[in-house]
């Protein structure tokens, strides 16, 4: 019974999403605002895992601007979630390309000041989370993700953190499922090795 209700709710949400997308395609800005409210948390989180905190709001805005611009050309409105994740991936890739030019400078800065920055940052926000162990683990995961190639990182973020299926990730990245499996395998191994080297017992 519960499962049936849940399925119905799921169906209703999907239908509503579809309805919103169709309304957006006819230029309904209120419908787009509603879509934004539904998806911005997931998109924001994915962008954060891929690109970090800097310019996060601008990147989020860029994703939704591209979505609004591209919506009239979206031929399969029912695939909107996959499509918007693909836009997110494109925006993140573009951003990484821009950052690649400053990579050396950034790495040096990060290496020398990371501890200090972390302490200062956290010290200024004591209300956020006083659990130092948690902060330490979060930081380790962030660093571990930073070390991965972007193609591997996106697979970990979408599959392991955002809980999307391998097939969905394959659709978003427009690659075969086998490629996703392979990337997931190597990404996990690399991340696991890094975390273990940092003293984390899994």
């Amino acid at each position: 019974m519960v499962k049936v209700l849940a399925d119905e709710c799921q169906e209703e949400v999907k239908n509503t999403d579809l309805d919103l997308v169709l309304r957006c395609q006819s230029g309904d800005r209120a419908a787009f605002r509603e879509l934004y409210r539904r998806y911005h948390k997931r998109i924001r989180s994915t962008l954060y895992q891929l690109c970090g905190e800097y310019l996060l709001e601008d990147l989020l805005q860029e994703v939704f601007l591209r979505a609004w611009k591209g919506l009239p050309k979206l031929r399969q409105p029912e695939h909107f979630p996959t499509w918007i994740y693909r836009i997110t991936w494109n925006v993140a890739t573009d951003r990484r390309r821009e950052l690649a030019k400053m990579a050396n400078f950034r790495l040096k800065n990060d290496e020398s000041n990371q501890e200090e920055q972390l302490l200062n940052k956290r010290a200024s926000r004591p209300q956020d989370c006083p659990d130092l162990m948690r902060l330490h683990y979060e930081d380790l995961i962030r660093r571990g993700l930073d070390r991965l190639r972007l193609e591997h990182r996106i697979v970990i973020v979408l599959h392991d953190l955002e809980d999307l299926s391998q097939k969905e990730v394959a659709n978003i990245l427009n690659v075969p499922v086998g490629t996703i499996k392979s990337r997931l395998f190597y990404a996990r191994k690399s991340l696991e090795k890094y975390l273990k080297n940092q003293g984390v017992s899994l």
Binding site: Q49, E53, W68, I156, H159
Partner: protein, 117 residues
């Protein structure tokens, strides 16, 4: 989510999900800013220059102009008027005397040289 293959992977994924980096608090102004940009873009869109439309318009206007200008700029003479015009022109060429124009270039140059001095 697909089945996780090994215990190591399962532990890793559990660890990642438990301690996933949390994004900073969202800026509430982003939504309004986004909608404002979209609204501005939409209002600009009505005046957007479309090169394709411009080319077609130019071709159509040019065709219409050339069609009507042919009639507009063609002299509206009758055959009789043309004949009399040609006859008069021919007669005047035969009657004209060119004695005054038979100057020698060298004489002119000499005169001008003297006048300047």
């Amino acid at each position: 989510m697909s089945k996780i293959s090994s215990d190591d992977d399962r532990n890793l994924v559990a660890f990642l999900q438990q301690y996933r980096p949390i994004p900073p608090p969202a800026n509430g102004a982003t939504e309004d800013r986004l909608m404002q940009i979209i609204e501005e873009k939409e209002s600009k869109k009505t005046f957007k220059f479309n090169p394709l439309i411009a080319v077609f318009s130019t071709v159509i206007i040019g065709s219409i102009f050339s069609l009507f200008s042919y009639r507009l700029f063609t002299p509206n003479y009758t055959n009789a008027q043309l004949e009399s015009f040609m006859a008069n022109s021919w007669d005047s060429t035969l009657e004209a005397t060119y004695d005054d124009d038979w100057f020698l270039l060298s004489d002119r140059e000499v005169d001008s040289d003297f006048s300047t001095q």
